[in-house]
């Protein structure tokens, strides 16, 4: 049976054939047992998907949408030439580092999750920013996705962590130049506005995430998969990168990812890791990316330099162009076979390794905190209108 015939069978299952085509397929089904078997399996696949439960939402999204729209509205009403807008893109640097490295045992040597004694997961991490928690003005109930509404006091949070004055200053200056450029053009593109919302969302979750390193010196693939499944359940949606590599021929594998775990879920996250059979989780230890940097270990670290805000800021981190005519944004990346209508949802960040050592297991993401709302006056949540 060739692929065209298989395609016809699949279309037959979906009732997509013309009467003439259907007769041909039915003749084939009468004559060919393999075709009958294939058709039955396609039909079964269709039935399997049909039988998937239609899970109820059990949640009202209106409060969520209202708060986000209120923030959008307040941002849209900011005075276009306010000097404070220059601080629109003032940056702070936050890092989420997740690295799992492990040496996989040869396949077949360990099929049971519990059969690798002494497997150990070491978690090191920095504490969440206390500053951010203090300045949260409002939070939305029962949702980790929506950021709290920013107040003017959050300006205090738009500063570099004390460990990173140089990096933060450079990023802040770059971001400020960008903001001034937007200001000079007396426009804030709607895409940028939207990107700020998304960015804000991610950076708000940034204050609720930790810098971690997971290290599994010896684990089976099953254990790693189990860890992955736990991480997949807890990480936030933005700026998550998951990568699994095989290094060398000795089956040493590294799995690195940058992920944001909401602080509110960290306890559950740790508990879920600890529940994994055969894996012992050590106590957390503070670990600072910047202490590494200060200690001259920067070559162990791969930077993420590019932060995609929108088309206008795609070259973020590079020297901003000097004239408005130079600011023509590059075209949006488009998927070859699929485009989101009115696509403005580009990845919040992209990775751009800076020639780091290929053997490094570290992944570092630098996120630029922007807080456009904090430069305006605090306004109560408003209805969408």
């Amino acid at each position: 049976m060739n692929e065209t015939e298989q395609l016809s069978l699949s279309r037959y299952v979906d009732g997509d054939l013309s009467p003439l085509e259907r007769k041909k397929v039915e003749a084939m089904l009468d004559a060919d047992p393999a075709a009958r078997r294939m058709m039955a399996e396609y039909s079964r696949m269709s039935q399997y998907v049909k039988e998937l439960p239609r899970d109820p939402l059990n949640e009202d999204l209106v409060p969520l949408i209202r708060v986000t729209l209120a923030r959008k509205r307040r941002f849209a009403t900011l005075p276009a030439k306010s000097p404070l807008l220059a601080g629109l893109l003032a940056a702070s640097v936050l890092i989420a580092t997740f690295t799992i490295s492990y040496v996989a045992l040869p396949r077949g040597s360990d099929r049971g999750v519990t059969s690798v004694p002494g497997s150990r997961v070491e978690i090191t991490g920095s504490k969440p920013s206390a500053v951010r928690e203090e300045h949260s003005v409002e939070t939305t109930a029962a949702d980790d996705h929506l950021p709290p509404i920013a107040g003017t006091s959050e300006i205090a949070a738009i500063s570099a962590p004390p460990e990173s004055p140089n990096v933060a200053m450079a990023l802040s200056q770059s971001a400020t130049r960008l903001g001034e450029q937007q200001l000079a053009e007396n426009k804030v593109p709607s895409q940028l506005e939207d990107r700020f919302l998304q960015f804000r969302k991610a950076t708000d979750s940034t204050d609720r995430k930790h810098s971690f390193r997971l290290h599994v010196p010896s684990a089976s693939e099953r254990q790693i998969d189990s860890i992955l499944s736990v991480i997949g359940r807890f990480r936030t949606t933005d700026s998550s990168v998951l990568e699994r590599k095989t290094i060398g021929e000795n089956k040493k594998l590294s799995l690195s990812f940058v992920a944001l775990i909401p602080t509110g879920r960290m306890a559950d996250f740790r508990a879920a890791l600890r529940r994994l059979p055969g894996i012992d989780v050590e106590q957390d230890k503070p670990e600072s990316f910047f202490s590494k940097l200060d200690a001259g270990n920067s070559k162990d670290i791969r930077f993420v330099e590019s932060v995609e805000l929108d088309r206008a800021t795609r070259s973020f981190g590079q020297t901003p162009p000097s004239t408005a005519s130079d600011t023509a944004p590059p075209p949006l990346k488009k998927s070859p076979d699929h485009d989101v209508p009115d696509a403005i949802s580009q990845p919040l960040k992209v990775e751009a390794g800076n020639e780091a050592d290929s053997g490094t297991l570290d992944e570092v993401t630098i996120l630029i905190r922007t807080d456009p709302l904090s430069v305006g006056k605090q306004a109560p949540p408003t209805r969408p209108d």
């Binding site: 109820p56 009202d60 729209l69």
Partner: protein, 220 residues
């Protein structure tokens, strides 16, 4: 209180300045969109994010909604594409069903030992649903989406083509490839199942479709 207004009427009221109408729009559509978005996005957390982004886009572009078209078709299109986009930004660990099935356990979720003992049939059914769900999510996002729209939401091929804005021929081949891949990945499950395969579907000219009795580009 029964709400006998249509989605389109609520859109009209919102555009006329009745801001509370947007709440009605969200509440009227969120429960209908969620199952589809959940199947494509892969998790509740992702699905909620996708829905939020969807409504933000609707809010921003609602003035561009063309009257006389189905509002739900329009928002469905936005939500599905947003869900596909969301999936593409993530890289989920690939579930290796064959490896899991070697031990007869499914390792993606820890076993809840405190769960009440259910009937054997229910357990088997739940396990199958979970395996199918996980396998569906392990497909490329565009393939997951077409299967969800075709089988889960029972859209016709031409409706799917309109939602994704791709030629119907692409929909046909994509559904076929997705289904074939699903079949390959679920082969252990198929072999395990003892029951006879379901009978072939009765001949029909075409599915009734979900959006409209006749083919057309939803929303526009």
């Amino acid at each position: 209180m029964a709400d006998d207004r249509t989605d389109e009427e609520w859109v009209q009221r919102y555009l006329a300045g009745e801001s509370e109408a947007f709440d009605h729009i969200v509440r009227r559509t969120q429960d209908r969109l969620y199952p589809t978005v959940l199947r494509i996005a892969g998790s509740r957390e992702e699905a909620l994010d996708v829905l939020q982004e969807t409504y933000l886009k609707v809010f921003r572009n609602i003035s561009r909604f063309q009257h006389g078209c189905s509002f739900y078709t329009w928002i469905y299109r936005i939500a599905v594409n947003q869900a596909i986009s969301s999936r593409r930004k993530r890289r989920l660990p690939i579930l290796n069903l064959s490896r899991s099935s070697e031990t007869g356990t499914h390792e993606f979720e820890p076993i809840d030992k405190d769960a009440p003992l259910a009937g054997l049939e229910k357990m088997v059914q739940d396990e199958r649903v979970k395996i199918v769900d996980d396998t569906l999510r392990s497909l490329p996002p565009a393939w997951t989406a077409v299967l969800v729209m075709c089988d889960f939401d029972e859209l016709r091929y031409d409706e799917i083509a309109a939602v994704l804005d791709i030629p119907i021929g692409t929909v046909r081949s994509r559904i076929h490839r997705a289904r074939e891949e699903l079949r390959k990945r679920l082969e252990p499950l198929i072999q395990d199942e003892q029951e006879p395969p379901p009978p072939p579907p009765p001949p029909q000219d075409s599915k009734p479709g979900r959006f409209s009795p006749k083919a057309g580009r939803p929303g526009h």
